[in-house]
Symmetry: C3
Subunit: 257 residues, 3 copies
């Protein structure tokens, strides 16, 4: 199983580096630069406008869309609706990252509205997924929305409602760099543009991200040098490194029972 | 005296790493990423929304607030007023950083209004503090506002109106990285959440920042590697390093007379 | 010829480090931090507000202005018009960077309007310059606008309509870091504040940028460490390094025929 997911991750990375997919990213201003650099590092091409009169054209020219709800200014909501409509219209995958919705009721309500509009995947930490699910089990949430749901943490759990995958790679320094999760969601969106089974694409992306974090930690002296080394690692990660480092986590459903 | 302030800095840092205070930061978009990374590096948890319908909830869930006036868009003023009201309501400390008010009369007027709303501390360079004080002595300004005033520069001067502290640590490369001051103000806000005497918290924060800059310069080959090394140093700085590097500056009042 | 342009670049850099020109930058939020750090690294002083009631005062106090059209929110257009009027009023040089206008018709129309307002220089990649020129040859475009036009790419081509200069320095990792072009445009603006022939200032800036990229690549293990090393290289680049690394490219008109 780790070998299989590592192989899928290597295949998807190869496709991204060859095709250079355009990923349009609606994200908070804190995360923009690191997210753009992470996308460039794996071979994708980022664009980031949120201007209402431009975003439709940008999404129409893109291969995937990330909607991140951090620092959600009022005028960004309109832009997000236009962007999602353009993605649905063109049939490209989009991913919802409901950042900090456990801290703001207004933002949680907006996230629940967007979750019903057909995202290919939703990614959040345990508190964010709980705020979105409102008591529903994560498998049931995935089935109801028809979306892959990924809950990140010490282990990452991915489900499409029928099948669960779990990844145990990563490093504690990843929690000491801002926008690490947002950049990861952007890279996951790039993996979704490759086709294939969506749950596998999401889990393969999380595997590659965790392995890049482990490789970077070996080069770093703290969170500052780690952030730079992480971009280096995303740029250089290959099939051999993925195969030798891959570690799958406990299944989510077993863990819950 | 250096030994005492170094010990206070080590104590405050220990508290921050143990308690992980949430710091809500209203700052300019240039400074957001580095500021978030600096807060994460010392063990605090940043949030940064400026959306009017969200910021109240974020500040209500925070332990401290930083108000930085850089790149001050019109709609950010309303958000700042909401944030300060929420901080005063909850009784958490907030710090005012009147960035570049010497370059914009409109911004200076707004800063003077905010300075009257009860900040725990105000931090600026000589030109910014002069624009705020309008001829008043900095001790008198601190007494009138009931706030700690910190004037940063080659030496940093801190006063609560009755007592002055001065710190001489730092490195010239700190002036070659954008947002170094803004990130320092955020870390100073985290120090203020620890309780104890506010002037000591502010001076201890400036001591730790200057020492991290000196340690980082030993690892750097220029301003780019310095920025990364500075985050590493903030993450790793400990009681021994603080004690051995601490250098207090000349007293502000002596210097003036 | 390479020796002459290298000498001009060294002279301009010496002036910037001595005079510390203030550069006001209207740029997208993705590029702000790296652009500010690049300006600081060469010795200039950045400011970045886009607030309509502040930007006039900031530009009036500046020595040069960069107008970058990335992530062009509606309210930024008004601020850009105010900024350009202030620059024309004071007689300081301003540079137009029409980012991604090939991807958004609304943005292209706005860029063509601004191009008629008297920029000292316009900088873009081949697709952006083509979208601006609408079929016109780049020399003709430069003559009609009375502006230096720089088309960046594997080789950079600079023309003022009568004279063409071409620079072949640079490194592929420069395309793997976001805001590299935006930061380069800001540094080019700083070079324009030095006086002298504008086409030479622009070509000298592009030469220095490409050489810094080559020097940085020798220190880097990937795009993350490259970005930090690039700022180090901008900070440290000197006359000897410029002279020994300078490589001029093929003339644009020869290439086209």
């Amino acid at each position: 199983m780790p070998a299989k997911l590592a192989r899928i991750a290597a295949d998807r990375l190869g496709l991204i580096r060859a095709r250079r997919p355009r990923i349009h990213v609606v994200t908070n201003t804190v995360a923009q630069t690191f997210t753009a650099n992470a996308l460039l590092a794996i071979g994708a091409v980022p664009s980031m406008t949120t201007a209402a009169d431009e975003i439709g054209a940008f999404v129409a020219g893109a291969d995937g869309l990330l909607v991140n709800l951090g620092t959600l200014e009022a005028d960004r909501r309109g832009a997000i609706r236009i962007a999602i409509a353009a993605a649905e219209d063109k049939g490209i995958p989009w991913l919802l990252d409901p950042v900090f919705i456990d801290r703001s009721p207004a933002r949680a309500a907006f996230a629940r509205e967007l979750a019903g509009l057909g995202p290919a995947a939703i990614r959040g930490n345990a508190a964010e997924i709980a705020a979105l699910a409102e008591g529903e089990a994560i498998d049931a949430l995935a089935r109801r929305l028809g979306a892959v749901v990924a809950q990140t943490g010490e282990s990452d759990h991915v489900t499409d409602g029928t099948r669960g995958l779990s990844v145990a790679n990563g490093h504690p320094l990843m929690a000491k760099v801002t926008a690490m999760g947002c950049a990861g969601a952007a890279i996951t969106t790039a993996f979704l543009t490759c086709g294939g089974e969506a749950a596998e694409s999401v889990a393969a992306a999380l595997l590659a991200l965790g392995i890049a974090g482990e490789a970077a930690a070996e080069e770093a002296r703290g969170p500052g040098t780690f952030a730079a080394a992480y971009l280096d690692a995303l740029h250089g990660v290959d099939a051999l490194e993925l195969a030798t480092r891959a570690r799958l986590g406990p299944d989510l459903r077993e863990k819950r029972s």
